[in-house]
């Protein structure tokens, strides 16, 4: 819809963000990344390229990793969003966050929220195999300019193995 000045009117939408229902009014041209950062104050999700080329903006939508820079917020009305702020519990880091710490899986940390979200999807994604090559391939949508890839991979591998073990019990 347009108003009398031919300017698109705000659209009201509801998002479930990290378990909480949030309502916001945004013009249709706002992407999910900017809605989260600028409107909901969730600045953990990072903007790198703004064009789908780096993965810094990765969030989970209904459990799936997507690039929030290429997703209009209005398209996700009613969806369940998880950002990096939603990973840790009250007192503890998520197992993956703890593994990133332990494995020194970052330098500057700018890519880390995106890496964590992408890797979080992988923990429960059984379609992706278990070898280093398969996991590295599945993580290729997250660029790390500091080149922390090796440690990121070992953090994910360790957590994934624990996760698989826990799932069988």
């Amino acid at each position: 819809m347009m108003d009398s000045n031919d300017t698109p009117v705000d659209v009201r939408l509801s998002l479930r963000v990290n378990g909480q229902m949030r309502q916001l009014d945004v013009p249709p041209n706002v992407v999910l990344l900017d809605a989260l950062r600028d409107r909901l104050g969730l600045t953990g999700t990072k903007k790198g390229c703004d064009h789908g080329q780096c993965g810094a903006c990765t969030v989970l939508v209904n459990g799936e990793a997507i690039n929030s820079c290429l997703a209009l917020a209005v398209v996700h009305d009613g969806d369940d969003i998880t950002t990096v702020e939603g990973l840790a519990g009250e007192a503890d880091l998520s197992p993956l966050q703890a593994a990133f710490l332990e494995h020194d899986a970052y330098q500057c940390g700018y890519c880390t929220p995106g890496q964590l979200m992408s890797a979080t999807e992988l923990l429960s994604n059984r379609k992706v195999g278990t070898t280093d090559a398969e996991v590295a391939e599945a993580m290729s949508g997250n660029i790390c300019r500091c080149g922390a890839y090796k440690n990121i991979l070992s953090a994910i591998q360790e957590t994934r193995q624990q996760h698989a073990g826990a799932a069988i019990d």
Binding site: M1, T7, P28, H51, L72, V74, M139, S140, N142
Partner: protein, 336 residues
């Protein structure tokens, strides 16, 4: 990003109706569209969101064909059981495209309709006949290495069609189904994308008042082996320099039927029917594969920075045919 009006379509009719006669674009996964609207290369005044249309199913259809809804995500299609067993070339092509995050959103319809990755098209200022018909092509005498073609080029445009999925579909054989407000039609997949010729801004056969509703794949060739080989500057999350989808069916060591399609080298998904004809009835040896590769690249036009693609594509063809034949042999050896 520019302002636009947003309409969420609830059904195909509604989508077509909201789109027709407007400076409008359908919004599927948005991974091409939002990128290009941000760059102001695509300038829609209205976006018609097709994400809630009931077009997300993969179903078996008449005569062993497979019907894929336009809204089926690339991830879903790649891991579909039938696609993995009967059309592994398609699954492989999809999984070598883009990144996991992008594939989770990218749709079948949107992938077919994705735009070229030419940097002169994307920069918004250089002369580009696709963006501004008649302004010239900056790539022909410019930097023309990665995403520039050697087959199907014209003096007006040399940009590659960047899709991996489409290369596999060109090899398999497919039909694009289109709907407008009051009619439906079907177009052979190989006729859907256009060669640039002297109208590079016309990229496909879709009319303004039409929507892609689904794509049907031809029935799989019995006993065939298939594969997709993609060669690129980095091993993932990168467009092809040259890629090859190959399907081979054997009678003993004789080739009963072969299919070859190329990516990264053509201005549209590139099917090589002459090379296929040369393989039919030949023995499945490297010699035959090399000859087919030679035929496939006949008439290729090298540009300043991409001449290397011609021998590279030949190697991709030989390797893909060899692997596909090996898979056909293995599946023949397996008890059914």
């Amino acid at each position: 990003m520019r302002q636009f009006e947003y309409k969420r379509a609830e059904n195909t009719r509604g989508a077509v109706h909201a789109h027709a006669g407007q400076a409008s674009a359908y919004l599927a996964g948005g991974t091409t569209l939002i990128d290009l609207v941000k760059l102001d290369i695509m300038q829609p005044e209205r976006l018609v969101d097709v994400n809630r249309l009931d077009l997300a199913d993969i179903e078996h259809s008449d005569g062993g064909t497979l019907k894929i809804g336009a809204m089926v995500r690339n991830t879903t299609l790649a891991y579909d059981q039938t696609v993995q067993t009967d059309y592994s070339v398609l699954s492989e092509a999809l999984l070598q495209g883009a990144s996991r995050q992008l594939r989770n959103r990218a749709t079948t319809g949107g992938n077919v309709m994705q735009r070229v990755r030419c940097s002169y098209f994307r920069d918004g200022v250089s002369p580009c006949n696709k963006r501004e018909p008649g302004s010239g092509c900056s790539a022909i005498d410019g930097h023309n290495r990665e995403v520039f073609a050697v087959l199907g080029t014209s003096e007006h445009c040399i940009a590659v069609h960047p899709s991996d999925m489409c290369v596999a579909m060109a090899a398999i054989g497919a039909t694009v189904h289109l709907a407008s407000a009051d009619s439906e039609r079907a177009v052979d997949f190989l006729d859907f994308h256009r060669l640039p010729g002297d109208t590079p801004h016309i990229e496909h056969d879709l009319k303004d008042d039409e929507l892609i509703t689904h794509i049907t794949l031809d029935a799989p060739i019995k006993g065939a082996g298939s594969t997709y080989i993609k060669l690129r500057d980095r091993s993932s999350y990168q467009f092809a320099l040259a890629s090859c989808a190959a399907i081979v069916a054997l009678d003993g060591d004789t080739i009963r039927e072969a299919r070859i399609a190329l990516g990264g080298v053509g201005t549209k998904p590139w099917r090589c029917k002459q090379a296929e004809a040369a393989l039919q009835g030949a023995s499945a040896t490297d010699e035959s594969f090399k000859q087919a590769a030679q035929i496939a690249m006949e008439g290729a036009t090298p540009y300043k920075h991409n001449a290397f693609k011609i021998p590279l594509a030949r190697k991709a063809i030989v390797r893909a045919l060899r692997d596909a034949a090996e898979r056909a042999r293995r599946s023949a050896g397996e008890p059914t």
